[in-house]
Symmetry: none
Amino acid sequence: MPEGRRGAVRSEAARVAILEATAALFAERGYDHLSIEGIAARAGVGKQTVYRWWPGKSALIADCLLEGMLLPDRFAVPDTGDLRADLIAWLAGVEGVLDSPTGEGLYRSLIAAASENAEVAQRLRESLADPRLFAPRLRAARDSGEVRADLPVDEVSEALIGAIMLRALARTPRDPGLPERLVDLTLGPRPS
Amino acid sequence: MPEGRRGAVRSEAARVAILEATAALFAERGYDHLSIEGIAARAGVGKQTVYRWWPGKSALIADCLLEGMLLPDRFAVPDTGDLRADLIAWLAGVEGVLDSPTGEGLYRSLIAAASENAEVAQRLRESLADPRLFAPRLRAARDSGEVRADLPVDEVSEALIGAIMLRALARTPRDPGLPERLVDLTLGPRPS
Amino acid sequence: MPEGRRGAVRSEAARVAILEATAALFAERGYDHLSIEGIAARAGVGKQTVYRWWPGKSALIADCLLEGMLLPDRFAVPDTGDLRADLIAWLAGVEGVLDSPTGEGLYRSLIAAASENAEVAQRLRESLADPRLFAPRLRAARDSGEVRADLPVDEVSEALIGAIMLRALARTPRDPGLPERLVDLTLGPRPS
Amino acid sequence: MPEGRRGAVRSEAARVAILEATAALFAERGYDHLSIEGIAARAGVGKQTVYRWWPGKSALIADCLLEGMLLPDRFAVPDTGDLRADLIAWLAGVEGVLDSPTGEGLYRSLIAAASENAEVAQRLRESLADPRLFAPRLRAARDSGEVRADLPVDEVSEALIGAIMLRALARTPRDPGLPERLVDLTLGPRPS
DNA sequence: GGCTAAGCGAGACGGTACGTCGAGTCTTGGG
DNA sequence: CCCAAGACTCGACGTACCGTCTCGCTTAGCC
């Protein structure tokens, strides 16, 4: 039995409207230029309703990430049996977000949000490369001799994602060959 | 004959005072919480003098980076003849900034600044790993057989610096063994 | 049913504090030198609260006039039965404001405010000589033969107040005989 | 022999350009909205050259008045022998300035300037009704019995000009019969 | 069914900072 | 010494949002 809460219950409609307004404004105008006031207005909601449930705009972004409203996909590593090809395909997907016009500043804005909110950073990282899926695959490949035995597994996704982010930060133009080169770099030379 | 520039010349004292105030406040309170108003007050300068020469706070950070007022060093890769050891030492230096108390949020703040200003991003990247110094060393090592022949040289520093940044973003705790593992990851297995 | 006004209601405390601060600073430092910023600070109020309800400082002065916070009195024409004496007494009162030390620049400041805001001008004029009280008295006196039959009633207060204002503008020193001479001038020769 | 002043002499061209720029901007945009900066720019002159010779913008207005650059005329009372007609004609001229489109705010702007600068007030008053010309005419008329014997001569122009100014302040619309009624009011009933 | 909470849209409140304008002063270099 | 140009410090402008706080209304469990 729930403890005796009385009164109206949280409005799901408001919650969704707020997150959708956040995602829309985030995509339109970037993380800075995002204002609680603007979100509330766009969502047709009082400011207090936002502040009642979230401490600030970075927490809103964290929730949007969690609901998959900002990144197109969960970017899970596909599993065709060929690890190297799977990683390249996945990394190409991650980098491919940069192609869309709205996606131009998307990563940069997410990085800005992550820099002031640990939860955003955590969820952003998991969205791009979920360690729970990533590491076991790599460990298995190492054990089976598919990749070299001394591969520092945990660092692989950090290096791959980190490189993508650094390039997004520096506005380095898209490079179709990049995913393959990065995977080559981290997994070591292809067995010939 | 110089073209007819007339009128008082730009005050070097003001320029320096502004950059120093920027660096001090940036270290003290981070990139957000940095305000032009606060910088001008701390520098003993009118706001207009800031706006006359810089379009906003991100441009101030870019100039501070250029003058080496934010990062302790140019983080050049040392040259002892042992490339692998040199890279590890350099990377340890880069990561070591995180040890200092003020340096806790330093990288995160720089990343925030970089996310809204391309020049900051460019200069941050060069401060950490100047490509003009970095790549030639690697190419030479590749040619001499010191590292594997198919090493994608340009991606090495991206992966290394990217990994550090990603960990800074995610507030991953310092790990003394990290530099070595990252260098192992990118340069491939040590020749035994 | 009232139309659906919702949200918090206007704070009377803030309204009064702002008008009082305006009146105090106006008396202390004059119309120019009056700043919204100063008013808000003195009233302990955000600037936005001023701008929400008044478009600028001249409108504040208009409201202060309406509330009788700037001019000591409504300067109504007394009614002792002797019109000529009443007008002289009233005009002496109006001119007497110039005696007070704070009142030195009071009229000049009010004139400055009136010159950029029609409402101030209107209310200033009514404060000094309310036409709704003034004209009927004069008309009755004309009908009863107390003053000459061709007296242009509406112009009387304009001439009287106008003369006072012109002297205030020109910093002409106070002259105790002035009210009587002006009334003589406008009402015509005393019946002997 | 002049005392030994050395160096360049004041530039008449600059002086005139400044006054002309002042008059033009004053007519275009009114007394407030008048800025030294704008005047200097319009005159093609350094700000310092303005400040070297005038203490502020009200002094510039005073000089413009003196040079007749603001008011169309000296508004001298004509002399046809018929004093009453002359006064009416003169007063109609003074009031007629209000007809011109630029003249709409001209008086109000002059009043604003006068309210913060005694010299402007003095010169404005003299421009409209020079006491040196005005009073003697009236005194002669009083002596010759043309107007009543107890007329307070000095107050006549004050009342006439004051009434005009008060109406300008209050934005009272032009009234073609006004000059005649005001003269009637001050000079007393027409001898029939 | 009435009472008491809580949530809600709205929006006023005291603040901080924004980016701009203009004030009045000072500094250059040329005449 | 004057002049045009223009950089300087400083104060105020009017605006945007912040995060908090009433309002009056609706919604829901509880007596």
